[in-house]
Amino acid sequence: MSLLAQSIINGLITGSIYALVAAGYSLIYSTNNFMHFAHGISVVAAGYMVYWLFTLAGTPFYATCLITILLSALFGLAMYRLIYLPLQRRGSSNVILLIASIGILIFFQNIIQIAFGSGVKLIGYIEVSRGIAFPGGITMTVLQIVILLISGIIFIMLYQFMQKTKLGRNMRAVSNNKELASIVGIDHIRISDFSFLIGSALAGVAGILVALEQNLSPLMGTNLMIKGFTGAVIGGINYVPGSIIGSFVLGMAENLGILVLPSGYKDAIAFSLLFLFLLFKPNGILGKKEGRFDK
């Protein structure tokens, strides 16, 4: 019984990291309508930023986090302005943008590998790795509780932002109908700027948490991206709350799945779910019907 409870808790923790990746990804997808696959490398770059600033340079932890989130946001904006926007201006199709974004991911993955080596890196912020035992035979580290709390707070803030603020409403307007939005005077390039800033800042937060929770490796970007993307597809890629819920479903499926399957199949579970959803329910559980299926 305690094994099951522990697996559910682990599923929630994994799910909340996937959800942070997926939320940013899906925010960018819904406003820009193309697959920003390089989002995964934003997460990894943020993780290495923490390693560099905190572990190597000895910057205070909270300052490190702040700088990392800021730089992540700017990194995302730079990708949009320097690569995607010029491509869009010359009329490239979504498929070309997707291929370019895979190129960006591979490029930075290898730059990180050259700069930091291919071995795994530890952040070594030990204050948060203390385990706490809960009734029912569940143990969680302080960090894992922090992950659950922070991601919960961020999701509520993101939802409020999308629903209540003018910028959030404009974003949803662009996501809903780009032409109509520009007719009523919404500058969609400015909205895209903000979607990349906010989405990549979320990737920064995810990167910090991943860096603390797991070991860092340059190659983890692809895997994280597939997980975030799978979560987004399960929940509905063009609908941010859906992609968050989908990520929790994925986290649960992985952690409950390895109760019956060998633990090596964790990734296979995610890949199979991704493929099945793309084939049979490409708009996800909660996604809007206007998805570009069969268009």
Binding site: V95, I96, Q113, I114, F229, L274, F275, L278, R292, D294
Partner: protein
């Protein structure tokens, strides 16, 4: 011996990649079948051929089996993704290569997982065993010439014109009473078949394979070559393969440590890919744009 040992190695790789790239161009360029999972066919071919040869099958039979098995997967991929369009199709085909990768990694009883398969025998053809790289070079050159010739004949046949018509205007073709779905199946299966053949040549040349050889970084290389050469141009694919495999060899003159050399090569491929997409997405000899 005409070339240095290292040059021979590069030439062998170039000929193996020419088959792989031209086969992708057949599907992606000529037929307009978006496929970001082509390296999966390459991997399936490599594993099939290696495992069968280790079981004692003669090389030619193992190579043909590798092509056929890969083309079965090509058939499955078309069944699975026929209803998808645009970036959903792109992601589904990419997802297909992830599924194959994780199967290679996890079906440990068959593929030995991350440990890979060592000691793949060098090909033996009619009692003659290919031992040196020079002999292997001649062998790959032959297989490459035959494969490219067949694919060249295919795209220039009436059947090839139908494939191009599928790409340009499928609706029109259906009005004319042609079965476009069956054309797609055939194109993808031919494409996968030759990818499987090149996978087999690769496995028996390197003599060791593991799942990481058939993953996203390999995909970037193949896509870069096809796009640089140009969609729908076999000549472009051949020229681009030679160019792009050769360019990073400049790095060797800088005397970089091997831990930097590999990632630097990958980074260069990525830069070439992004640059060509931004400057000239049609590539060197391309006839069509990507979707």
């Amino acid at each position: 011996m005409i070339f240095s040992a290292y040059q021979t190695h590069i030439f062998i790789l170039i000929f193996i990649y020419i088959i792989l790239v031209v086969s992708l161009n057949l599907a992606l360029g000529y037929t307009g079948l978006l496929n970001l999972g082509h390296v999966a066919f390459f991997g399936i071919g490599a594993y099939t051929s290696a495992l069968l040869a280790l079981e004692g099958l003669t090389y030619i039979a193992a190579m043909i089996a590798a092509g056929l098995f890969a083309s079965v997967f090509g058939y499955l991929l078309v069944i699975a993704t026929d209803r998808l369009r645009g970036d959903y199709l792109a992601m589904a085909t990419l997802g297909f290569s992830f599924v194959v990768y994780s199967l290679l990694l996890n079906l440990r009883d068959v593929t030995r997982g991350a440990m890979g398969i060592p000691g793949i025998p060098k090909p033996t053809i009619l009692d003659f065993t290919i031992r040196t790289n020079d002999q292997y070079l001649i062998f790959v050159l032959l297989v490459c010439a035959i494969s490219v010739f067949i694919m060249y004949r295919i795209v220039n046949s009436p059947f090839g014109k139908l494939l191009e018509a599928t790409r340009d205007n499928a609706v029109c073709l259906r009005v004319l009473g042609k079965n476009t779905l069956s054309l797609k199946y055939k194109a993808m299966m031919i494409s996968a078949f030759f990818a499987g053949i090149s996978g087999s040549l690769y496995a028996h040349y390197i003599t060791f394979i593991d799942p990481t050889s058939f993953y996203i970084s390999e995909l970037i290389l193949v896509l870069t070559i096809v796009i640089v050469g140009g969609l729908g141009s076999i000549k472009g694919s051949i020229v681009a393969t030679a160019l792009i495999i050769y360019i990073p060899e400049v790095l060797r003159m800088l005397d970089l440590p091997s831990s930097v050399l590999g990632p630097a090569r990958q980074a260069i491929y990525a830069v070439i890919l992004i640059t060509i997409l931004m400057i000239r997405p049609k590539g060197l000899f391309g006839k069509v744009d990507l979707e």
